[in-house]
Symmetry: C2
Subunit: 395 residues, 2 copies
């Protein structure tokens, strides 16, 4: 039994114990509304710790190009890929972005998600990055899903800098000197992210950006070693990042650094994104190496139009079990408690504990092992967010 009051969890455990505790604390049972799980599994609301929620357009044609052998960097180099999304996103007004966001948040809610991290990063100029962060913030205020905005100005080098010989370095300075002060003054971004990758932003450039962000009080996270070992995992551990994400190709040193950090005061979560590597028809990240090394592993959708167009976090649990050999129990921890810490809300969400937000999912399943097992099935019966029923099957 999970007892909730004013949006928070009051007690969790066998019914008689919880009821006795409530009465003893002066909470008469008559004041509670009962919701019967009817034999279904009850879990914390899921947390998606890595999404690019807000963008315009779609890029379905790239799937066929990839089937024909084009790589991510091929498509990027050809001016397609992320830059086409940047152009469409810059051209979209706030209301179009918000409508898009509501559509996909609504679907995520139906999959049992009650908190997401949402990155900017398809603006790549101060004005658009601020708009993306503000729309993400406003969508979180509308609810019911809590949205944790992240500033990702260093997602790619925008077209207006690419023509310059020192384009990447000039853009890094622009992120640090122009964008970060504006983002910090706006106050929407809870953390700062960088795409730290050979050919995108180097570990040194990433370090400068993230240190500047930390000086503004932002938490930090990285897209790390997605395509090749690029010093991302090492940097995440060095800087005490909340999360290092992707980690398809960490170096041995990077993995060791994250393992060492895991037992220190500022552990970095390894946020793995198996839907992305699956969609890119690539091998997945070495999840079991992280788990065996004691690094906490989270899973995210990486929802974005280029490399992971999926809003379905339970399906990502399945992909993790099949492609990365996570056990169903590991997959569940990876989309709840570990994901909450990766998103920076570990004290508020991700587990059914007294004091935390009353974010609860009742599933049409009788065993947590069934969550990744019924592949792509709609298993969510009821979603409770901050103590309120916000989604019911078929309603």
């Amino acid at each position: 039994m999970v007892a909730c009051w004013e949006g928070r969890i009051l007690g969790v455990g066998p019914r008689d114990v919880v009821e006795a505790t409530l009465e003893a604390r002066g909470h008469p049972l008559s004041r509670f509304v009962r919701l019967d799980a009817d034999g279904g599994v009850v879990t914390p609301g899921l947390v998606d710790p890595h999404t690019h929620l807000l963008f315009a357009g779609s890029r379905e044609r790239e799937l066929v190009l990839r089937q024909q052998g084009a790589s991510y960097l091929d498509i990027l180099a050809a001016g397609g890929g992320i830059l086409s999304t940047v152009a469409a996103t810059r051209a979209a007004d706030d209301e179009a972005l918000a409508e898009h966001g509501r559509r996909w948040l609504d679907e995520m809610l139906g999959h049992g998600v009650t908190t997401i991290e949402a990155k900017s990063g398809y603006g790549l100029d101060l004005a658009t990055e601020l708009r993306l962060l503000d729309v993400a913030h406003q969508l979180g205020r509308e609810g019911p899903i809590d949205v944790v905005p992240t500033f990702l100005g260093a997602h790619a080098v925008p077209p207006e800098f690419r023509s310059r010989p020192d384009g990447t370095e000039a853009y890094v300075r622009s992120v640090i000197e122009d964008q970060l002060p504006g983002v910090a003054a706006q106050g929407r971004a809870r953390s700062c992210d960088v795409f730290c990758e050979e050919g995108v932003f180097s570990a040194d450039q990433s370090r400068r950006i993230l240190r500047a962000a930390a000086a503004y009080g932002m938490a930090i996270r990285l897209h790390a070693d997605e395509l090749a070992p690029s010093g991302g995992a090492e940097l995440a551990a060095e800087l005490g990042a909340l999360s290092a994400d992707h980690l398809h190709a960490p170096s041995d040193e990077g993995l060791a650094a994250m393992a060492a950090a895991a037992s220190g005061p500022t552990p970095t979560v390894a946020t793995l994104l198996p839907a992305t590597t699956w969609f890119l028809m690539a091998d997945s990240a070495p999840a079991r190496r992280f788990i065996n090394a004691g690094v906490p592993v989270a899973l995210g959708t990486d929802f974005n139009p280029g490399t992971s167009p999926t809003p379905n976090l339970p399906l990502v649990m399945t992909v993790a079990c099949l492609e990365m050999k996570l056990s169903p129990a590991e997959a569940l921890a990876a989309v709840t408690i570990n994901a909450a810490y990766a998103a920076g809300v570990g004290g508020e969400a991700g587990s059914l504990e007294p004091g935390k937000l009353a974010d609860v999912v009742i599933w049409g399943a009788t065993d947590v092992h069934q969550l990744p097992y019924w592949v792509g099935a709609d298993l969510v019966d009821v979603v409770v967010k901050r103590g309120r029923v916000v989604h019911r099957r078929g309603a």
Copy 2:
């Protein structure tokens, strides 16, 4: 524009052409109800040509066993796997089976499916097989999804025959002499299927069963070469089967026989089941070899509790694109027109053509390439079955 009347398609094409044709044929436009696709893609209702819809219980624990290295035949040999489902299914009453069937049919409808094939095969005795076929038939009558029942008595050798030294052969005789006459007399099964596989039923045994079924007027289909080349593809071509299914490991001769049949009077559809191989963490069937050889390829969910617990046919399109390199257009043909022929309803379903059933899906997508692209997303806005709106997003 798709014009429908009394459950059938009257006309398809540009609006002005269709409207002029309707008026000329004496169908005044005022008598039609308009349904606006609002820019969304319109496709035929999807056809799932391979499901084991009816069973009891679930087998989520086998996923962990497989992660630890157990094979399908390991689990089978240990008395787990299919035999545990047979025991649970025999013990379930008709109403429990029907309730289970309604739950999953309802979900399939939400994924845009309007016709499914549904196999018996978890009874393995005449009484239970007849119950499964009758429940499948009744669920089809309840609608809205059309259900095409298939008799799969030769799905496995049941426990009561396994203890006998000639158990498999004795069970084959029982299928031919005891079950088939009863199934034919009942009249529910539209086709007969056999699990033709080394270690299950040999090609010779399969041939005897399927010829006996054909003599009762049933169409025939096979589980063929799922695990190893077992003569299944050859047999399908030889017998003019509607469909040969799985085909993970066809022999070169089998593939050539199906290619030859493809240009003859009785082509056999290759019904590939990529969710199954993906869920089993195995390589997928050589889809491109079939396509390149001119064999029509269909896709099914293989919905079943052991090897493919997914009701999500659009997700199977995605798996086919990623794991078997089908193009999105090939995947769409494989769940519509080719699937309809595989299910034995090619004259009635699977395409938007005058005279066919008015089974239509309106998608929340602007390009058919988006159907497999938005991975695991709920893209279906409206489902029309036999001319009636039977599903709306969020309703």
